[in-house]
Structure formats: C-alpha cells, structure tokens
C-alpha cells in the first residue's frame, strides 16, 4: 500500500487534484477506499490518467451555487473547453441536474455571443 502511494505520486501531481503537496502523509491511502483494487491492471500505461480515481464532486453542489445563469460568463467558461465544446460530466464531475442546467445556460450564452460555438474559428 505504502509503495503504491509513492509510485503513483508523480502522475497524480499532473492531475487536477488539489492535494499534490504532503503526499508522504500516511492518511493518503485511506482517503480513497477503492484505490487498492482498481489500479493494478493499468499500471505502467502511458499518460497521466492512470491514477485518475479521486472522487470528483459537483462544484455547484459543494459551493451551493443555485443559479446557473447564462450571463455569468466567468462561471460558464470553466465548463467550456478551449474549442468551445461543453466539457462532459465525466471530466468535470458535475452532477446530472446541474450539468443539465449548465448546458442550457451555455447554449444561451452562445446565442448572445458571450461564449463561442464549437468548431468555429473564434
């Protein structure tokens, strides 16, 4: 368990986790219960996605953001890729009800030129 924690240190540092520092602490392993089983098969593969197991939580649920408004470009832009595409739920961790509202808001914002449409030269 302890070895595994050390081995996975560098790829996780690239990920979007906020817990990059202090990885030597023994409490790390206990934070994610499913870590012991899953990673074995994919160990050694290329890319930083191997240890992408941290349970993502919905930003709107945790920060208690009720209103997903199309005028709030700053907020919406966090969920739009560089290309203008809406980032899928599996990458952002947004829950289904919020993703639904989010996508509607993004589409409204696109309509009034606050956000770009996907696939067009900006």
């Amino acid at each position: 368990m302890a070895d595994e924690t050390k081995a996975s240190e560098s790829p996780r540092a690239e990920g979007p986790g906020e817990r990059t520092a202090g990885s030597e602490r023994p409490d790390r392993g206990e934070r994610r219960p499913p870590r012991a089983g899953g990673p074995g098969g994919r160990e050694g593969g290329p890319g930083g996605r191997k240890f992408f197991r941290r349970k993502k939580v919905c930003k709107f649920c945790t920060e208690k953001i009720d209103a997903i408004n199309y005028k709030d470009v700053r907020l919406l832009a966090q969920f739009v890729a560089e290309s203008g595409k809406i980032v899928p739920r599996r990458l952002t961790g947004v829950c289904t009800p919020h993703q639904r509202r989010l996508s509607l808001a993004i589409k409204l914002a696109r309509n009034i030129a606050l956000l770009p449409f996907a696939g067009r030269a900006a």
Binding site: D27, E30, R31, T62, K64, D66, A67, Y70, K71, G84, L108, R110, N111, I112, A113, L114, L115, P116, F117, R120, A122
Partner: protein
C-alpha cells in the same frame, strides 16, 4: 399574465452613448404602450464578442428587464429587428427560474434557522473520520 423577461441585445460598438439612451427610452415607452411594466435597463458596456456578428468583433451589451405578456415581447423583438444598430438580441423568461431559486433559498434559510445552535462545518466533519480511519 405577468411574466418577467430579460431582453439582452447587442448594438454596434460605435454607437454613441446618447443614441443608446434614446433607444432604451423608446423601448421603454413601447413597453408602456403594450401594457407591460419596464423594470430596469442595464448597460454592460463594450465587450468582445465570442464570434463575429455582422463583421463586428465587439459590441455594446444592453440588458432590459420587463414584465408583461407574450404580445409585449413580440412587439419589442419586432422593434429590435428593425432597429439598424442592433446586431443581436436574446429574450429569456426568468420568472420561473426566479421562483425556483426563491424556493431553494427559503428551504435553505429554514434549515439554517433550525440548526442555528450548532455550527455547520459539514465539509470538515465529513473529511475528519476518513483521515483517522
């Protein structure tokens, strides 16, 4: 028939301040004539457009909030369509969303009042047992 709408529209970036005000006031009188209620107008100023609209890269955003029925919106949209400097507009009905938000807020306030005695460090409390386990 009292619905609340937001009309957001973009005018050409070279439109003068007084022309904008004139446009807003004509729309305001049109709202009154159609039996609606003009709530407020908000000028966002010049913003960069996410894509080109009628060969413009920038635009001046103006946001109106009105109350009224569908006929009012029909009239306002017709006016915006025939107004030359307006390059894009969007109408959104907001009262139902506002109602939903008010409901959530009411629930949340009620819950907060109920647990006013105990401090609500919900996130840290959930984290602590996982660490010590």
């Amino acid at each position: 028939m009292n619905r609340t709408y937001e009309l957001m529209f973009i005018v050409r970036p070279d439109m003068l301040e007084e022309d904008q005000d004139k446009l807003i006031s004509t729309l305001e009188t049109a709202v009154g004539a159609s039996g609606g209620k003009f709530v407020k107008a908000e000028k966002w100023g010049k913003r960069r457009l996410a894509y080109t609209v009628r060969r413009f890269h920038d635009g001046i955003y103006i946001l109106l909030t009105v109350e009224g029925g569908g006929g009012l919106i029909h009239e306002l949209e017709r006016r915006l369509r025939v107004t030359e400097p307006v390059i894009k507009f969007l109408t959104v009905r907001i009262d139902e969303e506002q109602k939903r938000l008010d409901k959530i807020k009411a629930i949340r306030d009620a819950r907060r009042k109920a647990s006013a005695a105990a401090p609500p460090p919900a996130e840290t409390a959930g984290e602590a047992p996982a660490v010590t386990a």
